[in-house]
């Protein structure tokens, strides 16, 4: 027993050390958001004297984070809902339906999963300009659906390929159409895979930066990450105010992560990383 405990101590020390290194900067940001300038310099990691919400108020109203927040919510919900629905359909087509041309279609879609936004941003700018969609929610929503569907298709295809065929055939024997089989028989089984897809696409969309930076000039259409970047340009030295703004940006993804972390980690360990 004693030997086992001795064995555990260095392991925990390592874990504690590396976790501490992650938490220290984040907690400094968190605590700083409630302080004034001078308090922050006096003690970067001390508890604030009062849990003052002034910085949040200033970021939210004066810094227009209320508008950025609304924009981020609209774009994220639209991208997640459309991409997940479309990916279930495309994944079903690849995994279980007769699909002539499947052999060359699959690498075509895989390509979209591998290329970064940097590779498509230049033509997207001019293409959306031509369509009159630049500086609109559509400029953020449509390209992100395109990229999310490529990952979503791969993700859902692997679910449907491994779905129990007997069940699918039995449903067909009972007279279910393909559409009914999908929603009545397979959908309940697909929920864990779909949940993972939802949380991953939500996180990517919420945090997306380059598209929103380039395709949106109208300040009232900015999403939170871009809003924060410009906010930082304006208030370079006001760290507590920046910290409050940064917390507003980070909080939704952190909450979703903590609630669904099992799904998050499963997805990201599966190689599903795309920033």
């Amino acid at each position: 027993m004693n030997g086992r405990v001795k064995n555990l101590v260095p392991r925990y020390l390592l874990l504690v050390f590396f976790s501490f290194m992650v938490l220290l900067p984040i907690s400094g940001l968190f605590l700083g958001a409630f302080k004034t300038d001078t308090q922050l310099i006096q003690g970067p990691f001390s508890l604030p004297q009062t849990w003052n919400l002034d910085n949040f108020r200033q970021a939210w109203f004066t810094g227009r984070f209320n508008i950025f927040f609304k924009n981020s919510v609209i774009v994220s919900i639209a991208v997640v809902a459309a991409s997940v629905f479309l990916s279930v359909l495309t994944g079903y087509a690849f995994g279980l339906l007769p699909l002539p041309g499947k052999r060359w279609l699959f690498p075509l879609i895989l390509l979209g999963y591998m290329v970064p936004f940097e590779a498509v941003i230049i033509p997207l700018y001019h293409f959306l300009d031509l369509l009159g969609l630049r500086d609109s929610y559509w400029a953020l929503i449509l390209p992100q659906i395109g990229l999310s569907v490529s990952f979503g298709t791969l993700w859902m295809t692997s679910f449907f390929e491994n779905a129990p065929r007997d069940l699918v055939d039995a449903a067909a024997m009972d007279g279910c159409s393909r559409w009914q089989t999908l929603w009545r028989v397979l959908w309940p089984l697909a929920k864990p895979s779909v949940t993972t897809l939802v949380v991953l696409i939500f996180m990517w969309t919420w945090n997306e930066f380059l598209l929103a930076l380039v395709l949106i000039q109208d300040e009232t259409l900015r999403t939170l990450p871009v809003g924060l970047a410009f906010f930082q340009g304006k208030y370079t030295a006001n760290i507590p105010l920046l910290a409050a703004g940064a917390l507003i940006v980070a909080l939704p993804t952190v909450i979703v992560y903590i609630l669904f972390q099992r799904f998050f980690i499963r997805g990201m360990l599966g190689g599903a990383v795309k920033g």
């Binding site: 392991r11 002539p100 940097e118 945090n207 940064a246 993804t253």
Partner: protein, 300 residues
């Protein structure tokens, strides 16, 4: 990938009905822009005039003779050290030291270690700009408190230190991911291998080289692909922390594309760099995947 059979009487094109809506959006807003990037890279164009001039490979010649591109690319290679080599090394070290049996409280540590992965890179940039701030950043405050005032720097404004400073932020973001990935992989390595090799007199290091590393082949592959790609395409973090400065000390390929295309209106030139970046990323992911399957066939 096997072909799925149509049921008797079913139209064999039925799958296309389900595929089409998603495919069309993908083709219009992802696939077409990919092709268009490649095509534009053969033209000279300022982005707004109606006329584009075909220049063949001239943009590529310009890219390869441009000292800015070379230094940006070298900075990306340095970032591979910080985004990939260090985190993978830390991750392997920890995975080998930690027990293969789950430790009590592991869920908590896992949640914490993974946290930087879910936070916007802009937020990460705000945090670290504060930490590196020359006047009131905690790093310099700490150095002063330790009596090491001589070491304090304007970290992100220093020509020699800005690149490793931004790179170390990448290490901070990636190491938890690598650790969790490898720890998860360790669960699948049978305890018997370690027991048998102990009986044969293998020490911990030999076990690490001959059992742990081969056992984690798949996870190491995922970690390499993910982190190398992150290092090659880094943009958000550089935009927020240094904008490529001081001078061009932290200029990276992603930022050079942005600057050339949207600040200098050199669309063809920027497209050539974007095409090269895309090819590099495709090459990295295909190469590592190929190496992995090659290994599997060998050991099978």
């Amino acid at each position: 990938m096997r072909a799925n059979k149509a049921y008797p009487g079913e139209n064999k094109w039925k799958g296309w009905l389900y595929l089409l809506p998603g495919l069309l959006i993908y083709l219009a807003f992802t696939f077409y822009p990919i092709l268009e990037t490649v095509r534009t890279s053969f033209y000279e164009w300022n982005g707004f005039s109606a006329q584009r001039t075909w220049v063949g490979l001239q943009n590529y010649q310009m890219v390869f003779s441009d000292a800015q591109f070379t230094s940006a690319f070298l900075h990306n290679l340095v970032f591979i050290l910080f985004y990939c080599v260090l985190p993978v090394f830390i991750g392997l070290l920890l995975a080998s030291v930690l027990s293969r049996r789950a430790l009590p409280g592991m869920t908590f540590f896992r949640t914490v270690l993974f946290l930087p992965q879910v936070i916007s890179m802009v937020v990460v940039g705000v945090i670290w700009r504060w930490i590196f701030n020359p006047q009131f950043g905690p790093l310099n405050i700490l150095l002063n408190a330790l009596g090491l005032s001589g070491l304090t720097r304007a970290w992100l404004g220093d020509f020699a230190l800005a690149l490793p400073a931004v790179g170390s932020i990448g290490t901070w973001v990636q190491y938890g991911f690598c650790m969790i990935l490898f720890l998860a992989g360790m669960q699948h390595i049978s305890e018997e291998y370690y027991e048998a090799s102990s009986l044969d007199g293998a020490n911990a290091f030999q076990q690490f080289v001959h059992i742990t590393i081969p056992g984690l082949r798949a996870e190491i592959g995922v970690a390499l692909v993910t982190t190398i790609i992150a290092a090659l395409r880094v943009f958000d973090l550089v935009y927020v922390t240094t904008r490529g400065g001081p001078g061009n000390a932290t200029l990276v390929v992603g930022f050079l594309i942005y600057r050339s295309a949207f600040q200098q209106n050199r669309i063809g030139y920027a497209s050539a760099i974007a095409t090269l970046l895309m090819l590099m990323i495709l090459a990295v992911s295909l190469l590592i995947r190929r190496l992995q399957t090659g290994n599997e066939e060998e050991s099978a």
